[in-house]
Symmetry: C2
């Protein structure tokens, strides 16, 4: 399939000629696939799971809806694929624990603010948070992957006790930053510099992780 412009394809003409994943795959395929993935990620991040349709993604990517289904399957499969957070839990834990334990809150704050300031990662995070409100398995994924998979082991490692409660306190502020900045749209959080935000949030995260919480 030749598709240089990405928006000129005639609906319904492409699917039969595609062979994605095959050895004879042409460069155009991955470009189109990546265009669809990018459109999907943008829409899931901006509008929430329910308002996105295969058709709306296809329209933005300039392809036929059948092509979206051909590449990605169902809307749920598409969502899972384009929002996957390809981080290594063990590596993230090691990164956050590497250094003075008095600065772990600052490392976590900086890690989060940097992720939210990078379009691709921000879109994945927002798509997941917005979808957690309507799809129980996405809410469960947040709990399993972040709260139980990253935060709790970090707290345990730091040895402050009450690891499950501390992990959810941390998560409450992480979710709050993302929702306040990017869902509710609190402008002053968006316009503040990374250093200002880290200075504001690091002591909160530090206290939840290892400080006095009772």
């Amino acid at each position: 399939m030749e598709q240089p412009s990405g928006r000129t394809m005639t609906p319904g003409t492409a699917t039969p000629r595609l062979s994605p994943g095959g050895s004879g795959r042409r460069p155009g395929h991955s470009v189109t696939r990546e265009q669809i993935a990018r459109a999907a990620r943008e829409q899931f991040a901006a509008g929430g799971y329910d308002r996105v349709t295969m058709r709306s993604i296809a329209a933005q990517a300039g392809v036929d809806a059948a092509l979206v289904a051909y590449f990605f399957g169902s809307k749920r499969e598409l969502f899972d694929e384009v929002t996957v957070l390809s981080f290594d839990s063990a590596a993230l834990r090691a990164q956050l624990l590497d250094g003075d334990s008095r600065d772990v809150g600052e490392r976590l704050a900086r890690c989060l603010i940097e992720a939210l300031d990078e379009a691709g990662r921000r879109q994945r995070i927002l798509a997941i948070i917005r979808t957690a409100g309507v799809e129980a398995d996405t809410a469960r994924m947040i709990r399993d992957k972040f709260t139980t998979g990253v935060l709790e082991p970090i707290v345990s490692q730091l040895g402050a006790g009450q690891a499950p409660l501390r992990a959810v306190l941390v998560m409450s502020q992480i979710l709050g930053i993302a929702v306040a900045r990017h869902v509710v749209g609190l402008e002053d959080l968006t316009s503040a510099s990374q250093d200002e935000l880290v200075a504001a949030f690091a002591p909160t995260l530090q206290r939840y992780l290892v400080g006095n919480i009772s």
Copy 2:
């Protein structure tokens, strides 16, 4: 209209005989109206704006969808009516400012936790937060009514400077508590006692309101 059970009405039979708001109004009307409002509030809080339909609310209330429209108009009008937070901004500000300024974070934390522990208020808050993700005017309402209308004036009154930034920092933790407990469903936040939660969150809110944030 006689409707003792609330679930036995035959679809389509009630509307012509209703005269809500009129002087000849019978007791049954307000009961039915309140049943519909309660069902709507529950569904908006649980599923988010997009998944709720006039039909799904009617089904839960045991009435015909036309009756929902008759009482409340459009879905948007229904949402606005059943989620209205009937608090007085000036009274809330006065309540939070009444007392030692070193305890203002604790008063705010307790006020929020108590609201989230009461079904009716929790449902209104969650419906608004979930809908803010898909309806821009609801996100704007949160900003205008809470961040600008309550939190900023409180910070200004307390005289710590940087009122707009402090107000959004406070809002980030407030939103985070609600989303973490009730949208993502972090069990340890739900099972903790009110006092435990106030102890954990009050110092955060206190610092954002009047403490060192840079």
